[in-house]
Subunit: 267 residues, 3 copies
């Protein structure tokens, strides 16, 4: 039997020892667990960015994996601590929307509020539930403690409102939902709606020519293009460059498409 | 039996392959060891920051874990290389004070100087003892080689002088000892000495109002507060903000409290 | 039998979930594999920096380890995906030169083009072969699938041209090939050619005095020195300082030595 994997996603950075403390707590409870860092470089308190990041990997992991997500500006306040099972993967996270994209994608889910004192650190700080609540809960989940033991069912987890692209006749209107390390501007417009005949209009730079392509190498170095990214959505990119910097845009910037691809189309 | 864990704390960054080389050396000697990154983003040569970080996690790990700490500006010079056992956890580190906070907290300790050539890399560079000394020593420790085999006992490890808060009558005077990623200014003032009746005075910004609270959510967004942090000490924070940037302060900045909490108090 | 180790080197950063997706794919195929992060902070698209980094660690790992290198600006285009066995270590990487320094150092090598569809993700994006090609290939290699199963042999992998130091009579002329996190300027001049009698001339700062030393502590704090670094080459460093910033130089800056060490020498 392979050991369970526990993944860690936080906005803690690493230099203060907070992530180290979480790993130590896990190691003490579940000594054989494999701990995979996902990121500790989420912008402090950016729940939407954490939700995006989590959406990229949670289902790549096999069933039984435990995903820890601690981007938690409300720590110590009234927000609940959640443990969840979504399509067979286990999660611990504050109830602040960080699970939004995972929740939006699943068929089977169970969520409980983490409240069983004997599964947590005996003395809990007001500022560091990563160490005191989420790490021990994750380690106990990885050790096989059933979800129901952690607390009562939660029916109304908090979800972020995710902007959706709107199709209006022959056009589609969406926005940038994530800007990645390469400066790629990832929109909420399904990539399969954009064809070589589509025109991509950047609302904040309407005169900018944006080529369409299947891959970065379809355009010259430095050229702006729209292509379908790895999550299936339209991305605005610059070949061998940084579209976010070059075009001065980020999350929330609006993008429009006309001549949406639908098989046949009247010019 | 669960495999041993080896934790890594350095100021190497990751992009130059130095940490990779250390991990490879460990993998070659102790192939089943689990390697947990703590941080490679300590500010170059900042021994005090490394000591703080180490203090946050070393005892969370179970006995038998091996903690590697390589913040080592004196590499290649006369400073000794240490292997230690502190309350059952094992350490390898340069003798430069990086173990100060761990040493200050333990009851049982044994320290030796790493000098047994056959437990180290045959050829050692003058600049990279992380790879040539500390990684092989850690891997051998994790493999069960006893501490005494590494060299002779050390009775006088170097310790940093840690500033301590001073209580003077009804007041207490301390300083910021660490500024974390969120900009929280962590002082050396025990949090239980500060009550709702205490007044917190920032020496560098004496007119700044600082609320007292039990948790961030006790104040409005953007407000400055003092609360007890996860290590039990007073922290100066800004709710959903960065106190270090907002208040223009960091390590060494002085903080004073009057009306120290002592149960009863004459106004 | 110890589980196989898979190392990851990318320019993805961590905050977008791309590395998380790769780890999840690996965990699903090879659940017991140990995943060691090397770096995700290579400058975006900097193949030479990735090749340098890889050169520092690949052979420290034991035979059978799998090294994943995804710095891949040509993703989705015509560049091949490679799987290789170099002196017993396994590699997956784009065919863009990232393996140059490893290839230059080996005696036994086998390289194939990854093309066997049933060992890859069924649907492959045009932008993220880390997840769709390299992670599954690495996991299958770690699971014992033989190299030949991945595709046909490659005889002509792309290699970067590595600048070599030139010896001219009594002098040697080289250049900085890597600047590390500490600002150390690592040249391509073999360290054993520089002696205490050598004069080190920085072409971009010819009046700068550069001491020679065996270790940082041979000079005063803040002084510039040349010493042999951990890879055996001359490094220009500042004790307890940053030579790259202080001297305003980086990769490609030229360095000259006269009075090359050769045992005996006429003054």
């Amino acid at each position: 039997v392979a050991p369970r994997r526990i993944t860690l996603l936080t906005d803690f950075g690493t230099a203060d020892g907070y992530v180290g403390a979480m790993k130590g707590v896990i190691a003490a409870i579940a000594p054989a667990a494999l701990i995979d860092d996902i990121s500790h470089e989420i912008v402090a308190g950016d729940i939407a960015a954490a939700a995006w990041c989590l959406g990229m990997y949670w289902r790549e992991y096999p069933r039984g994996s435990v995903h820890v997500c601690v981007v938690d500006p409300g720590v110590g306040g009234a927000r609940r601590a959640l443990a969840a099972e979504l399509d067979g993967r286990l999660f611990v996270a504050p109830d602040n929307g960080v699970l939004t994209r995972a929740l939006a994608a699943v068929r089977e889910l169970r969520i409980v509020e983490i409240s069983s004192d004997n599964l947590l650190r005996p003395q809990r700080s007001a500022t560091f539930h990563g160490r005191d609540v989420f790490a021990p809960a994750a380690a106990h989940l990885a050790s096989g403690i059933p979800l129901g033991r952690f607390g009562n069912a939660v029916e109304d987890p908090i979800s972020l409102t995710l902007p959706e692209a709107r199709v209006i006749g022959d056009a589609i209107s969406g926005e940038v939902v994530h800007s990645d390390r390469f400066g790629n501007l990832i929109t909420n417009i399904p990539g399969n709606l954009v064809t070589g005949e589509s025109r991509i209009i950047l609302e904040w730079a309407p005169t900018q020519r944006v080529a369409t392509g299947a891959t970065y190498s379809d355009v010259a170095v430095g050229e702006v293009l729209g292509l379908t990214g790895s999550a299936g959505f339209l991305e605005i990119a610059v070949r061998d460059g940084n579209a976010s910097q070059r075009l001065g845009a980020g999350r929330g910037a609006r993008v429009h498409i006309d001549a949406v691809g639908r098989g046949t189309r009247t010019p």
